[in-house]
Symmetry: D3
Subunit: 149 residues, 6 copies
């Protein structure tokens, strides 16, 4: 909890300051990652250390530090937008599960996540939506979320 609050402070601070660009991007990216992962860090980034560590750095510095940390849209909506896109594309189940957790950690209610995935039946077809619901079910089970639809 304290770690998440600290992350938010870093986030505000790094968006204001401009000094030491790379350190700032990394700090900002890690702060956003901390909110999204609930302070657990990204297993995907860690797993890249042996084979493609720069890809892991880009995830922290670019994806989270430059893009997802931007102030123009709240993190809950950003994560729900990512859940929508990954459900529609349908080719990245592990990342979809991560962002379902991320949406919940960023403040989305369980039913809101379910609604986004259900809505994709309209825009990407029922099979994509059904596979998205399977990912939601796994996340809810891992977290012990009691979900009465």
């Amino acid at each position: 909890m304290i770690r998440v609050l600290l992350s938010c402070l870093i986030l505000v601070w790094t968006q204001a300051s401009g000094a030491d660009e790379t350190a700032t991007r990394t700090a900002r990216g890690n702060a956003t990652l901390d909110v999204i992962t609930g302070g657990k860090g990204s297993p995907a980034v860690a797993a890249l250390a042996d084979i493609a560590p720069d890809l892991g750095r880009w995830i922290v510095d670019f994806a989270y530090g430059d893009v997802v940390s931007r102030p123009g849209l709240d993190l809950r909506t950003r994560e729900l937008a990512t859940v929508a896109a990954l459900t529609a594309l349908g080719n990245a189940a592990p990342q979809l599960k991560s962002h379902i957790k991320g949406a919940l950690n960023a403040g989305a209610k369980p039913q809101e996540v379910v609604e986004v995935v259900m809505q994709m039946a309209v825009y990407a077809g029922f099979p994509a939506s059904l596979n998205g619901i399977s990912a939601v079910r796994e996340v809810f089970a891992e977290r012990g979320i009691e979900h009465a639809p």
Copy 2:
């Protein structure tokens, strides 16, 4: 303006009542479509009348009446999620433009729409994001939106 308010009333009413299912679904779908299109109706639905009118009915009754009208998620977030998905899929430019307008009509700020489309560079690649920005630019030009990023 009055028409949009009226639409919202119908929306609340149809979500509560259960009588005369088909009429209810159609009324609810049209009410949501009115909010999303700013009271102009859907040109896509009208264009289907000559060749596949039932597809148009499904859009009103199912897509808007059953799915997008659901109470569990606000319409602004729903439309931003759809913008995210269509930008990521990258194969439906006319529908993407409609939902960019829909997001604005449902209360999203111009910059919020831009943020969702930019974010897709991370999740679906830069070409998908660039083509999404082209759609945003066309909508902003049509609407005379002065957008200082």
Copy 3:
């Protein structure tokens, strides 16, 4: 066998009648589902009961009741078209397996299913076709289909 015949009767009846729309759509959808699943019901729909029951209702009422039950095209061709689309999209293996079974239940010969999946090598590439054949092989093994190509 009798159950499937009964389903066909319901299907004809519900396409003719217009009374009590929702009950009609559900009955018609379940009748078509019965033909496609050989009277076993859809495990996908059942699995949605805990987390997204309305998505399951849409599958019965909309996907099967409104769309797949339409009289303008025979069910065998509809299921083969779905096998083609899911093989080409390549992102929904469980649903592809269901519709391979559905095509067989709707009267397609095993070789016809194989032909559709092979043909996708031309329109969606060999990897999509190869993964489609893997799904066909699993279904044929489950059903004990002796297939001499």
Copy 4:
């Protein structure tokens, strides 16, 4: 008409004979192409002559000669399966139009083509289906098909 009948004869003959493989594949491919294009030949193949003539040869010899000419599935169903796949993929509008014409030339009724495209709303989402209907509308207009849905 005579040309199409002649094509069918060649098709039957080349499926039976095994002599002179390449000439046989080309003849068989052109015969099937003749049925699908109504004897007009493929503009796509002709257009490849200047830049990638072997790609054009593969279309005739492999795609039409080896695959689409196979006896295990009738040509009407093959073309409807291709219409389904290209509507679902949504990234090949000119080819979709060609195969809508091909389905009609192979004996599918206009309404059957419309049904396949409408059905894709379920399996690939409404935007893909709507863009498929736009392709159908263009083909029907070119051919002067009076279509009362």
Copy 5:
């Protein structure tokens, strides 16, 4: 010509040095962009200035400065890999044309570009390959490339 050589020098220099990260990334990105665009700069980046300038900055600093400039693979192969991916995805025609030009500017022969696009018929289907050839034809015409296949 001199500008391209200068770009190569900057590229080598920025890969060696570590000082002033952001300026380095931008310089390196612009140097690589100069090689790829033949010193003309990216019209896509310029077009973003009014609506999403940070997306343009990410293209220069991240896409070209961090990724495409990396020393582990030659630029000609990188551009051919991008041509392959965009032909296969089939949803980004303007970007495909840019990278066909980029491959030629990075030293690929016209026939090598044609080969990559033809090969995609195997991995993503003939429609994707045919649309890729259309993009190649437009680029060759713009550049007055006499191509005898």
Copy 6:
């Protein structure tokens, strides 16, 4: 080693000769397959024998014999282009692994394969690239490749 050299000889010979087309295509396809699989043959082709043997023949005769064997582009670049396309499409993990091995067998360095997959983060998004790296990791582990990035 001798088998691979022999394969190369067959490849050169079959590209020069024109006699007995089908035998030539098969020999040429098998020769290229031998280079790509390191003389092990394709398990995918073998697996098709029971259910769709002609699809296996097309892979040898058409995909490898007609397309991948063409002289206009070296095999290493062809395999890297295929790795790029399959990483971007993201719907064919087994085939991606085969072509990662194929790229290595055709002479690409481990780091070159990693670079192509990392680069796809730019053109198809980070999730596609991350899943590509998972495939690379499995191949490197199977082969005991010590890879110090």
